[in-house]
């Protein structure tokens, strides 16, 4: 199991994740499937990545607030699976647009990395 997120440094947003925007892209992609609350997001990413990725709580909540502030998400009052009150996060139209842009750049980046690694192996 690899840690996607390193421990964020409070005053240095450049270092908040492995590469800029990775956590955001995954949150946005997950919420595109359906609105979820925080813990559900953690579990969802863990499951979908077959336990390869684990989201640090220390990064998740600040990231959610940043995205709320950017207007990519909306928070609404809802209940958890157990019937307790919580906040459900939902993707906005701006969020979808941002996600589509980011996905392309993430894919390009992976393609680039893959090629570099392939050359290195030879």
């Amino acid at each position: 199991m690899s840690n996607l997120e390193c421990v964020p440094m409070a005053n240095n947003p450049e270092h908040r994740d492995l590469f800029p925007g990775a956590l955001e892209v995954m949150i946005l992609q997950s919420l595109r499937l359906k609105p979820m609350h925080g813990y559900a997001l953690v579990k969802h990413i863990k499951q979908v990545s077959d336990d390869l990725l684990q989201v640090e709580e220390g990064s998740l909540y600040p990231a959610l607030q940043r995205m709320l502030k950017e207007g990519w998400l909306e928070a609404e009052t809802g209940t958890s699976a157990k019937g307790r009150p919580t906040r459900i996060y939902r993707l906005t139209d701006a969020g979808i647009r941002h996600l589509e842009k980011e996905v392309i750049s993430v894919e390009k980046m992976f393609a680039g990395i893959t090629r570099v690694l392939a050359v290195a192996k030879v």
């Binding site: 609350h37 925080g38 813990y39 640090e56 600040p62 959610l64 940043r66 928070a75």
Partner: protein, 897 residues
């Protein structure tokens, strides 16, 4: 406005975050319980996995904040809350700061108003005073105004210069105004054309003088000052065109100058055109101030060169009458040394003000060290809290910032109160009105002064805060957490910073005290100087001016003056009365000219210039000036125009070897003037102030042959100062009697400048006493503050060492030895401070040399007495806490743990 909406929705956002986090942990707990953990174990596990909830929530909330600003705000709130909890500390610090900053703001406002602000004229940087050096002219070219201009110089320079946009000359005068109310003597300024154009301040009503007003045969005009216009005419605009009687001459009012307008540095009531008759002008008559406005971009040196060229032209164009040598003035070596008008107005007060500014600056440093000391003690009591926070991961910067925020807000609060202090201080200063402080009316708390206060508040806050910030931000958590337990006393390092501060305080206080004591010694030395008159509080003086138009015949003028003298002498309680062209220390020199002593030849053929005065019989008696040899004038000498003079003792010694040898000897003014016999010698008089050497003076009788006219003409001074010796001098009833006596002779003669000789004498000491008072206040503040500092440090040391003292006492330490231990440590600190301070004072006092009189800047008595006084005071200040230490009950001290 989005940020505003955000600001208000924040509370909801924060709630969302904590609800989300709570649910997160709950679900994880339940999951773990489902795996078979107990609820307690699962809850702990879930929390551990999650991490620091508070930190995380804080970080999530920060997304919605301006983090730097808001955490500063929080620190600020915290600082105020803590200040509120210790009102005694807050009050002490704020009061100290308010007085320190207030004193600095006050003095800065004075420095700003007098030295820094430009003069209140448009483009005042282009204004110059026409100052001439003339080393060969003796007392005619003096230190305070150089050689003044003659009217002929004005004509030549104003017509032929290439440097000025405009130039003009003026001279202050007095005039009686009749026909408006009671006859009143007013201050006038006689102006040539060009003066108003040079200053370039438009009139408030009416018009300036035009060229036509300067025609000696044209219509007679006058302008009013704003003050006189308000006082006499209630600000009525219809006065323009009205006529008033000025010195019995009817003059039409053509204009009023605006409020606050002063002629360079002089307040006046009336402006009168000089109206010079060109045909009557000679080379001589150096009695006018000159000002000019330079052409834009014209350097002063070029203007100097331009006028230097015209001096030869001036000597070629004019004469002093047939048979005189117009190039005589080459021996005077007249050279232009023009200076900015501002420099002329400020004069030599700049030195005094900068010394005072430096002094209060030093007081501010002492204030800062004192507050720093208090803050150190306070930070000491928060030591544990700060250590714990450091141990929990608070960064150095974070703690330093908090301490600095506290100190800067203290500084700012102090600054706010200081503005009130400064306001009161300035009111007091302007009300006490030091006579020789120029531009007094322009001193105010303006934006620049307030900016200075703000800067000083912040800077001093940073200064005294940085000491404790540096000290505590370094704190190593582990090391200090332990040291507050049962060790006997605190470590040396903790006491060291406070010791350094106290030492610094003592040395700064020493500098201030030395300067204050030197000023006191200077003042005493000045008071000990024999001024050449006696018992000045019982001499009443007043000016009386008899204008040409009122009484034209000079002999009648003398008779009127004689009658007034007789009437005044008849007032009960008056012991003697006389008058003179000028009394000492009023800065009026009736005349300066050459004097030739019989049988003496002079280098270069020209004798030096001597100061002249014109005196009535009994004048010396009234002033208390001793007759050293010979006799006084009599009225018979006067009316018979006998060629007789009285000379000062120094002139007699210089010319004939002794005072008694002078009587019967002869002297004369010009080689063709009649010889004058010396009938008496009087003691030297310090006419230019006690700190200036007494000049040689020739006293002429009040009525004499005019030496400046070709045929013998009788002349008499029309502007004289009466001196009346009486025990009742200065009282109102006495002045009333004096006025009645004068009016019984001539009802249109006003009295002016009514002062006792004591007042004139005190005014001449004003600069010294002003400096003295300022330095004494600063010195007293410094002494008090540094004693508080010594007391505080020792008393804190005692309280910190209670346990140690308890143990010492329990082991049988002598109380006297214990007391001495604390007093000694205070004396060591004071001793080090004194040594440093003595060195600094010795170096700095040479800067004060010009302010001192009759005393060396390294006066041994001062340099011995002040340290001794400081040491005694420090010993006393430390004795109080030391005594408390010796009274400690060992059982109590040890049990207190």
């Amino acid at each position: 406005m989005e940020w505003l909406a955000q600001f208000f929705s924040r509370r909801r956002r924060y709630e969302d975050i904590s609800i989300s986090v709570q649910e997160h942990i709950e679900e994880r707990t339940e999951e773990l319980m489902a795996d078979g953990m107990s609820r307690k174990q699962a809850g702990q596990m879930a929390r551990r996995e999650f991490g620091n909830v508070t930190l995380l929530e804080e970080r999530s909330r920060e997304v919605w904040q301006w983090p730097a600003f808001e955490s500063v705000l929080a620190d600020l709130k915290f600082a105020f809350r803590r200040l509120g909890k210790s009102p005694g500390f807050a009050a002490t610090v704020l009061l100290t700061l308010a007085i320190g900053i207030g004193a600095n703001t006050t003095v800065f406002s004075v420095v700003n108003g007098v030295l820094l602000k430009p003069l209140p004229y448009p483009d005042s940087g282009q204004l110059v005073s026409l100052w001439f050096n003339a080393p060969g002219a003796g007392g005619l070219a003096n230190f305070s105004s150089g050689l003044q201009l003659s009217a002929s110089m004005y004509f030549t320079f104003s017509e032929q210069n290439r440097s000025f946009l405009s130039m003009g000359i003026w001279t202050p005068s007095n005039a009686s105004v009749t026909g408006v109310a009671e006859p009143e003597q007013v201050r006038t300024e006689m102006l040539s054309d060009g003066v108003l154009q040079t200053l370039d301040v438009p009139p408030a009503a009416g018009r300036w003088f035009a060229q036509a007003d300067q025609d000696p045969h044209g219509g007679k005009t006058v302008m009013l000052s704003y003050g006189y216009w308000q006082r006499r005419f209630g600000g009525d605009r219809k006065v323009i065109g009205r006529a008033i009687q000025v010195d019995a001459q009817s003059r039409e009012i053509v204009g009023v100058m605006p409020r606050g307008f002063r002629l360079v540095d002089r307040d006046f009531d009336l402006l009168v055109p000089l109206a010079l008759e060109r045909a009557n002008q000679k080379l001589a008559g150096f009695g006018y101030y000159g000002i000019a406005r330079l052409k834009p971009g014209m350097p002063l040196a070029q203007a100097d060169a331009d006028i230097a060229r015209l001096i030869a032209v001036w000597m070629d164009s004019w004469s002093n009458g047939p048979g005189t040598n117009p190039h005589y003035y080459e021996t005077w070596r007249i050279t232009p040394a023009f200076r900015s008008l501002k420099q002329l107005v400020i004069g030599s007060i700049g030195g005094v003000l900068w010394v005072v500014m430096a002094t209060v600056g030093l007081v501010m440093l002492i204030v800062c060290t004192n507050v720093a000391n208090l803050l150190l003690v306070r930070a000491e009591s928060r030591h544990q809290e700060l250590s714990i926070r450091a141990a929990l991961g608070a960064g150095r910067m974070r703690i330093a910032r908090e301490l600095l925020i506290e100190s800067v807000s203290l500084g700012l609060l102090g600054g706010v109160i200081a503005v009130g202090v400064a306001f009161a201080g300035l009111r007091l200063l302007v009300a006490s009105g030091p006579a020789d402080l120029p531009r007094l009316s322009e001193i105010s708390l303006d934006a620049r002064s307030l900016g200075f206060t703000l800067a000083l508040s912040v800077l001093s806050g940073l200064l005294f805060g940085s000491i404790s910030a540096l000290r505590y931000a370094r704190t190593q958590g582990s090391a200090t957490l332990g040291s507050t337990t049962r060790t006997a006393s605190e470590g040396r390092a903790r006491q060291r910073s406070r010791n350094v501060l106290v030492t610094a305080q003592v040395s700064m206080a020493l500098i201030l005290l030395v300067s204050a004591v030197l000023m006191i010694r200077t003042f005493a030395a000045l008071r000990n100087v024999e001024p050449g008159f006696a018992d000045p509080q019982h001499v009443q003086t007043m000016h009386i001016w008899i204008p040409d138009l009122l009484i034209s015949d000079p002999q009648t003028v003398t008779h009127v003056q004689n009658n007034i003298t007789d009437k005044l002498a008849a007032i009960p309680g008056v012991t003697s009365v006389g008058f003179a062209g000028a009394v000492p220390m009023e800065n009026v020199d009736p005349n300066w000219d050459e004097i030739r002593v019989e049988g003496k030849s002079y280098e270069g053929g020209e004798p030096p210039l001597r100061l002249f005065n014109f005196v009535s019989p009994a004048y010396f008696n009234a002033m208390g000036t001793r007759l050293v040899a010979g006799r006084d004038f009599t009225w018979t000498d006067n009316y018979d125009l006998r060629p007789r003079v009285i000379v000062s003792e120094n002139f007699a010694r210089e010319s004939w070897g002794s005072a008694s040898a002078a009587v019967g000897e002869r002297l004369r003014q010009f080689s063709n003037s009649p010889w004058q016999e010396v009938i008496g010698v009087v003691e030297d008089v310090r006419v230019h102030g006690v700190d200036e050497k007494a000049p040689a003076i020739i006293y002429w009788p009040a009525m004499l042959h005019d030496p400046y006219t070709a045929k013998p003409t009788i002349d008499a001074p029309r502007f004289v100062t009466f001196a009346i010796r009486s025990n009742r001098a200065g009282t109102e009833s006495f002045l009333k009697r004096v006025q009645q006596a004068v009016w019984s002779v001539n009802a249109s003669l006003p009295l002016a400048s009514v002062n006792t000789m004591q007042e004139i004498y005190s005014q001449s000491l004003e600069r010294t006493s002003f400096t003295l008072v300022m330095l004494a206040i600063a010195g007293a503040m410094a002494l008090a503050l540094s004693l508080i500092g010594v007391y505080g440090v020792i008393s804190y040391a005692v309280s910190q060492r209670t346990r140690e003292i308890g143990i010492r006492l329990a082991l049988g330490a002598q109380k006297g030895v214990l007391r001495w231990m604390f007093v000694r440590s205070a004396l060591v600190l004071t001793g080090i401070g004194v040594v440093i301070g003595l060195g600094a004072a010795a170096a700095l006092m040479s800067l004060m040399k010009t302010l001192l009189f009759g005393i060396s800047p390294l006066d041994p008595l001062t340099f011995l007495a002040v340290p001794l006084m400081l040491a005694i005071a420090a010993a006393l200040a430390s004795y109080l806490p030391a005594r408390r230490a010796a009274r400690i009950d060992p059982v109590e001290a040890l049990r207190a743990e």
